[in-house]
Amino acid sequence: MSAAPLLEVRGLTKRYLGLTALDSLSYSVEPGAVVGIIGPNGSGKSTNVDCISGFQGADAGHWFLDGVELTGLPAHRIAQTGLVRSFQNVQAYDEMTLLENLCVARQEIDGIGWWATLARSARLREGEAAAEARGRELLALVGLAEFAQAPAAILSYGQRKLLAIAACLMARPKLIILDEPVAGVNPTMIRHIAQVIRKLNAEGIALIIIEHNVDFVMSLCRRVIVIEAGRKIADASPAVVRADPRVLAAYLGRAGAAEAQGAHG
């Protein structure tokens, strides 16, 4: 691991009154990696996403994307620097068409200002045409091409998750954080989403996947970080993490962990 990390998080801490949700969390993500972050309910996985994407203020810590410090920047600035995220409760602009949903996700990063927009300059028309082409390409990738002109309100839950992933991609991000991409989704759709994620990674996009579905994470990621009570308790390959007694204890309780190890041994 000699390459400079794409994302580097150092000592991230977040407290809610008496509760310490994140306790000096540090990790890094290499370029092109798919890293899973798992942990029991309330372990701080989502707080971690909210902090590094600027949706919640951190109490301490620093984080960098590609060497650029993001600490304390507002959410929209962090998105513009290339770190984009999806949300646990899937979100879309219901009254917009799918294509509009995607085009809007790109307009703040193509550098075309308000005046050029109002003047309907040639640059704007080119930029919008490119966004539309990319949008159609991504809709085809996630299998929603036939609904390009339909309002997002008609989509099913799983389809919305796919739309959210496509929207993340519109900004040509350096790193995508998917917060529970398959929670509440049927098995066929889970396989479909896994396929899409593999395709993205093959294109060189780094991803962090926050999930409860451990099998899903283990099948996609070569590296898994486990968080418990705001601390990192493991950071290794899926096989190593699966056998780690601390991870088993966190998920199953100490007695359960001993039992599981007994069964293995």
Partner: protein, 337 residues
């Protein structure tokens, strides 16, 4: 294929109507003084033009960025007072006074927005309501500047100096009809341009899902200030022009009547729908006047209409059309699966 999908020489009927209807309406409004000498119609024309700008600006702020604003009437009144005072006390030329009125209203809008939008949408609504009330109190009680409840009467007929040494003295109702109609067409064109550009798309994104918009690099504060600043500018200009038609400005220019009228026009037309709001503005300008309602009775009528609309068309005309579109796609999806 529906009737609207019929194509003639590469132009769809719907596309042609979309251009011809507004162009025809503009032409009729502009030619009205050539077609009739009925001053009552000119008065309606001035009223429609003024409200179309006020309601259009409110639609941008409320329908596009999701901010319920009661401040429009404040910007309108500030524009009216600024233009009146600059012309009478400072002897400014007409156009310069109107431009200054727009600029002052814009600054007021940006200051209110910047200070209150850091809180919440609800805080914004309360701040704008307080602002409108404050404007009226200042106009009434700062007697040395505004002459209090007496107002500033006897504004001179404005004179526009045109190129080539021509000048246009705007004095008759027909002149004011022209002035306000030309201004309203330009102002609404600007509103339309913003709404249909990707600036409007970002604003709609912010209204529908602010967190998602932020995660995509959209700065809600910047877009909301843009909408608010633009609506304040246009309302200020409208006030600055309209005041010369009234020939007097007094604290009643900040009356809640204007706020309620604008709001009901936007709600019935469908917040977020440019054409819906324009149509409802036209209908609500003409109908109550035709029925000869007094202002007080009109407020009662508005209340009744508002209740009916809330019950039957919660999204207004525009929202009803949008819903039909969603239903059509749902049936397509069901048919395919």
């Amino acid at each position: 294929m529906t009737a609207a999908g019929v194509t003639v020489a590469g132009v769809t009927v719907a596309g042609a109507l979309r251009f011809l209807l507004p162009a025809g309406a503009c032409a009729v409004l502009l030619l009205l003084p050539r077609l009739t000498a009925n001053e009552y119609l000119f008065a309606l024309g001035v009223s429609f033009a003024t409200f179309s700008v006020l309601a259009g600006g409110l639609n941008l702020v409320y329908g596009y960025t999701g901010l319920l604003s009661f401040a429009q009437v404040g910007f309108f009144g500030i524009g009216a007072y600024a233009a009146a005072l600059l012309v009478t006390e400072q002897q400014w030329p007409f156009l310069a006074a109107v431009a200054a009125a727009g600029a002052i209203a814009t600054v007021a809008g940006l200051v209110i927005g910047y200070s209150s939008l850091r809180l919440s949408r609800h805080a914004f609504a309360i701040v704008t309501l307080s602002f409108a009330l404050l404007c009226m109190i200042v106009a009434r009680d700062w007697v040395s500047l505004t002459r209090g409840a007496m107002g500033i009467p006897g504004l001179p007929a404005p004179v526009l100096n045109l190129p080539a040494g021509l000048s246009w003295r705007i004095a008759s109702p027909a002149d004011f009809h022209w002035l306000m109609t030309i201004f309203a067409i330009a102002a609404n064109a600007l509103i339309y341009l913003v709404m249909t550009s990707r600036l409007g798309r970002a604003m709609r994104a912010i209204r529908q899902n602010e967190a998602l918009a932020r995660s995509q690099g959209i700065n809600p504060l910047a877009y909301r200030l843009l909408a608010l600043g633009l609506s304040a500018l246009l309302a200020g200009l409208a006030g600055g022009l309209f005041v010369f038609y009234l020939t007097i400005v007094d604290p009643s220019v900040f009356d809640f009547y204007y706020t309620e009228t604008m709001l009901i026009m936007v709600i019935i037309g469908g917040a977020g729908s440019f054409w819906g709001v324009l149509v409802s503005t036209a209908v609500l300008t003409v109908v109550p006047d035709l029925l000869r309602f007094s202002t007080d009775l009109r407020m009662v009528l508005y209340g009744v209409i508002l209740i009916i609309v809330m019950l039957v068309f919660p999204g207004g005309i525009g929202g009803w059309l949008r819903k039909r579109g969603v239903a059509r796609w749902r049936s397509v999806r069901v048919a395919k699966s």
